[in-house]
């Protein structure tokens, strides 16, 4: 199995045709034989209908022959359909296998490979380029067999009808066979260039998307457009040439094939006049000749598909033809359990380009010992860590884990014994939970009898790495789903009541509690009007300006005009303040106008200046109303809420609540202490209010109080569990750099490996978190886990068993911290002491 996978880049295109598809291919060939037979019958019937039935005026024969004709046509069509089904199945089977195998191979390629390979290119190879190869494999046997057999059958029939005529009309085909390959060579050359240029473009697109913040930050739109444009133009030229050649093949083929009837008319006509050819035979000859065209065309098309497929297949496989440096899973045995000691002897690492990054490294760690690697950047400390972690293949010397050479271990052996936390860990899109079990799952996938980590284990590592509070906050900021989480909502209402009693007064400065007799400055005008959550989507904030029932209520409360002018004032003010800046999402956090609406708002501000509100278009008025409904005076300070409007809205609130309770009681859940508010976060539901402050210290106080309460109410685990479902976004970009690092450390802790390698794993953390993790390494993991830490901050290395100072790829000092400091050598200097 393993050997097959390694060989994928060496496999020829034809090697995919039979394996796994033998049965399908055999059935296919059988079907084809029947089909060919069914295709010839109509020709013979045609002749007999003319010669026997019509000429002799025999009605019964006419019916029999026509019946045979019909049956064979139906049979041929039905069989053709079945053949297509089989071909498609084979194609798609093979394509799926190709993709899976190639992806598996790509994942195991050495890290060095990815210095030059762009993600976009890999995507285009896997998604686009292999598709033609796949469709070729489906046709590989069936297309030539069915078409050549049909051709031979028709040709045989033609010869049987009239040898002379047959030989002359068939003589055209060899000519085609000479011309077409010449054109096809041109097409192949263009196709090769097309594959390459697709690859370059995919790389460029991939790079532009990953670096979009730099492009927008530096405003290099023109530059990037130029680059992309010139590649696209190049590609356009190549594609035109490619298509012209391909069409050239088709046109040439058509031309010669159409010459066929010409030969028949002139020669057959002559023979017929001479009485040497029956008219029926000539009709049959003409249609047989015509029928030659389809299989011939398909054959030529197949030839083209074959050419295209072999070009893209070969190009793709060549690209990925780099040997892997390790074996993924051991064969016939379970993963090794290694003792945790590390011996490094005369280790060296030289790059492909001949640069020596590590030079004669000797180092020995007993199981459970800790080592700090220090030195300036470029000294080789990260490279050493990567070599030990089998991420770089060292070029000389030995790294022994217990008795085993790292280079000879399978990945599975390694991950079962070692955890590696890299400098800039990658977090995958998905939930916190999925990322947390990421390392553990890799072992579990193979060792299926292992238990899944329990919630307690997960919570423990979240605590240890200090990301627990963040996860808790994610949990608190979750909006519950009404359908699925009703029970939880009911329990949270009890927490809310207790919160009001215990903390209500203490937090009153920072929280604006929902209160039906007060205007809520940190809620929108719409929320203030309803003081409730819409259950009916026509009452959602976006739909309100089109909701005629609501508009009628606004009119009755005399609020329409005041709100329109509020919307106008908001537009005017925002445009006045921000109009001269290029838009940036940061600027729109304090305005009800969103970043996306900005361009339109500038134009609208201009219209407002020139037109009376009542004369604006419906669209404009709807938008102004929407803005006013979004307005939160506590947050959007650019316009003050006039006291009179505040009073009118409060009066409007009672009118609206009364009307809705009477007319559509199911449309809203009003904010009452006994109702869970489904469009608000768990936090706001417990608070039964909105947080007023953005000051981190005040937020901290609120968080502390809430955490205190949910611990008392025995709710902590539930909320953390919800928080662990938080979606971290693509590449984890909804997490901060520190949170990503903490999560990466947590996922390594979760599998509690015997050997842990941390490559500047705490560099993005604040002092407090760094110290916390350092303490943990020195207490909880001490003696149980062999630890190698690449360290850039020298104040945390005091308690390591050993410190190795690296310079230019060598270890220049090795010993305990105290020894090295006493020696007054390199470490002493690095720490800041002077000689």
């Amino acid at each position: 199995m393993e050997k097959e996978k390694i060989a994928i880049v060496k496999r020829s295109l034809f090697s995919w045709v039979l394996p796994g598809n033998v049965k399908l291919q055999v059935v296919l060939v059988l079907l084809i034989s029947v089909t060919v037979f069914a295709r010839v019958i109509p020709l013979e019937m045609q002749k007999r209908i003319v010669n026997e039935a019509i000429k002799l005026r025999k009605m019964d024969l006419l019916l029999i022959y026509c019946g045979c004709y019909l049956v064979s046509v139906l049979l041929a069509s039905g069989l053709k359909f079945m053949i297509t089904i089989l071909q498609t199945r084979i194609s798609e089977n093979v394509l799926a296998n190709m993709r899976k195998d190639l992806f598996a191979h790509i994942l195991t390629l050495p890290l060095n490979f990815y210095r030059k390979a762009q993600p976009g290119m890999v995507v285009s190879a896997l998604v686009t380029e292999l598709a033609t190869a796949g469709s070729f494999v489906g046709l590989a046997i069936s297309a030539p067999v069915i078409n050549i057999m049909t051709l031979l059958a028709f040709a045989g029939y033609l010869i049987y009808l009239n040898p002379l005529l047959a030989v002359i009309s068939l003589a055209l085909y060899p000519v085609i066979l000479i011309i077409i390959p010449i054109l096809q060579r041109g097409a192949n050359k263009a196709n090769k260039q097309r594959v390459d240029s697709t690859r370059t473009i995919s790389s460029l697109i991939g790079e532009a998307i990953s670096g979009i913040h730099e492009i927008q930050g530096n405003g290099t739109f023109r530059l990037e457009n130029r680059r992309f444009g010139s590649l696209v133009d190049q590609m356009r030229k190549i594609r035109i040439i490619w298509t012209l050649y391909k069409q050239g093949v088709k046109v040439t083929n058509n031309f010669f094939v159409s010459l066929g009837p010409f030969v028949i008319f002139i020669l057959g006509g002559y023979l017929s006049m001479q009485g040497q050819l029956e008219l029926g035979a000539m009709v049959a000859f003409l249609s047989a000749q015509e029928k030659l065209y389809d299989p011939w065309k398909e054959l030529i098309e197949f030839y083209q598909v074959y050419m295209d497929a072999s070009v893209s297949y070969k190009r793709t496989m060549e690209y990925f033809d780099t040997p892997t440096e390790f074996i993924v899973e051991p064969e016939g045995r379970r993963a090794l359990l290694l003792p945790g000691s590390i011996d490094i002897k005369e280790l060296s690492y030289v790059t492909d380009t001949g640069i020596q990054l590590l030079d004669n490294i000797n180092l020995s760690l007993k199981s459970g010992e800790t080592l700090a690697l220090v030195g300036f950047s470029g000294s080789g400390k990260s490279t050493l860590a990567l070599c030990i972690g089998q991420l770089y293949k060292y070029s000389g010397g030995h790294i022994l884990l217990g008795e085993m050479e790292v280079a000879d271990l399978t990945k599975q052996d390694l991950i079962t014994n070692m955890g590696f936390v890299s400098q800039s860990p990658f977090i995958f899109s998905g939930s916190i939970d999925e990322n947390l079990v990421y390392s553990y799952a890799a072992i579990h996938d193979v060792e299926t009898n292992m238990e899944q980590p329990s919630l307690d284990d997960k919570i423990a590592v979240l605590h240890q790495t200090g990301i627990f509070v963040d996860v808790l906050r994610f949990g608190l900021n979750t909006i519950l789903d009404k359908e699925r989480q009703e029970d939880l909502a009911a329990r949270l209402i009890i927490v809310r009541e207790n919160f009001q009693q215990e903390y209500g007064e203490k937090l009153a400065d920072h929280v604006e509690f929902f209160d039906e007799n007060k205007y809520l400055y940190f809620s929108s005008v719409a929320e203030n009007l309803f003081l409730g959550t819409p259950n009916d989507p026509t009452f959602s904030e976006n739909n309100l300006p089109q909701n005629s029932y609501f508009l009628e209520l606004l009119n009755r409360a005399d609020l329409t005009m005041p709100l329109l002018s509020l919307g106008a004032e908001l537009t005017r003010q925002t445009v006045d303040i921000l109009g001269s800046l290029s838009p940036d999402p940061v600027f729109f956090e304090q305005s009800p106008i969103s970043f996306d609406e900005w361009d339109e708002s500038i134009l609208l501000a201009d219209r407002i200046k020139r037109t009376k509100l009542l004369q604006l278009s419906d669209i404009d008025r709807n938008y102004l109303l929407k803005l006013a409904l979004r307005f939160e005076p506590g947050k959007h300070k650019l316009v003050a809420l006039p006291a009179i409007l505040e009073r009118m809205i409060l009066e409007g609130r009672s009118l609206i609540q009364e009307s809705i309770t009477r007319d559509a009681p199911a449309a809203f859940s009003f904010y009452q202490l006994s109702n869970y508010i489904y469009n608000q976060t768990i936090m706001n539901n417990i608070l039964f209010g909105q947080i007023k402050t953005s000051n981190p210290k005040a937020l901290d106080t609120i968080n502390q109080s809430i955490i205190q309460l949910i611990i008392e109410e025995d709710f902590l685990e539930t909320i953390v569990e919800i928080g662990m479902q938080f979606q971290v976004g693509s590449k984890g970009d909804k997490l901060s750099g520190g949170q990503r690092q903490k999560l990466a450390i947590a996922r390594t802790f979760l599998k509690s490996p015997r050997i842990m390698i941390m490559d500047e794993a705490t560099s993005a953390l604040d002092n407090k978190s760094q110290t916390r993790i350092q303490n943990l390494l020195e207490t909880r993991w001490k003696g149980k886990t062999t630890l190698i830490s690449v360290v850039h901050r020298l104040d945390i290395i005091r308690n390591y068993d050993k410190v190795a100072v690296m310079k230019a790829g060598k270890i220049i000092e090795l010993g305990s911290y105290d020894e090295l400091i006493a020696k007054k050598g390199a470490l002493y200097e690095l720490v800041g002491g002077k000689k």
């Binding site: 400065d509 303040i577 921000l578 940036d584 600027f587 305005s591 300070k637 402050t693 981190p696």
Partner: protein, 175 residues
């Protein structure tokens, strides 16, 4: 479309206008044109602190500049576990300008010694705005340089003769 003084009186509750007036008084901002000041007046936020709350704490890099609208605060520094009071701030004081210009962990803690209301602008917002007006950075630098010069003048005239180490450190404006 510009805001005039009369308008602010007709709009006593308008926080934006008050913020604008405050910014025009602060040395750090006062040299900026009105259009830019309006953006800052829009972007800054107000916070209330209770007696004993910390506005910021030593070693944090919170990246915020403060203007005291009302109340008093006391600046302290903790060294080897001992907290020493440095000075008091009161209504109208502005501090934290340097933190807007680059990362700088706090060397001091500031604690409210009465209920405090202040105006806060964050480094993040400041940088986003100034990125759009790179040419105006020179106004800011002039203001900062002038302020440092002024500070050192005061220091030289007030310095107590007893502090030898302080004398060694004189010359901030030379750095």
């Amino acid at each position: 479309m510009s805001w005039s003084a009369e308008k602010s009186e007709s709009c006593p509750t308008c926080e934006f206008q008050q913020n604008l007036n405050v910014l025009r008084e602060i040395y750090f901002f006062s040299a900026l044109p009105l259009d830019t000041l309006k953006v800052f007046a829009y972007l800054c936020t107000r916070e209330n602190f209770k007696l004993g709350d910390f506005l910021f704490t030593q070693d944090d890099d919170d990246g915020q500049a403060f203007y005291l609208i009302s109340g008093d605060a006391v600046l302290t520094r903790t060294e080897n576990g001992a907290e020493a009071i440095i000075r008091n701030y009161t209504e109208g004081d502005f501090f934290g300008a340097l933190t807007l210009l680059g990362n700088s962990p706090r060397l001091f803690s500031l604690k409210a010694s009465s209920p405090v209301t202040c105006l806060i602008i964050s480094r993040d917002k400041f940088v986003h705005v100034m990125n759009q007006y790179p040419q105006l950075m020179s106004n800011i630098f002039h203001a900062v340089a002038r302020n440092i010069h002024h500070w050192e003048e005061l220091f030289l005239s007030d310095r107590s003769e007893g502090c030898k180490a302080c004398t060694q450190r004189i010359g901030v404006s030379l750095i």
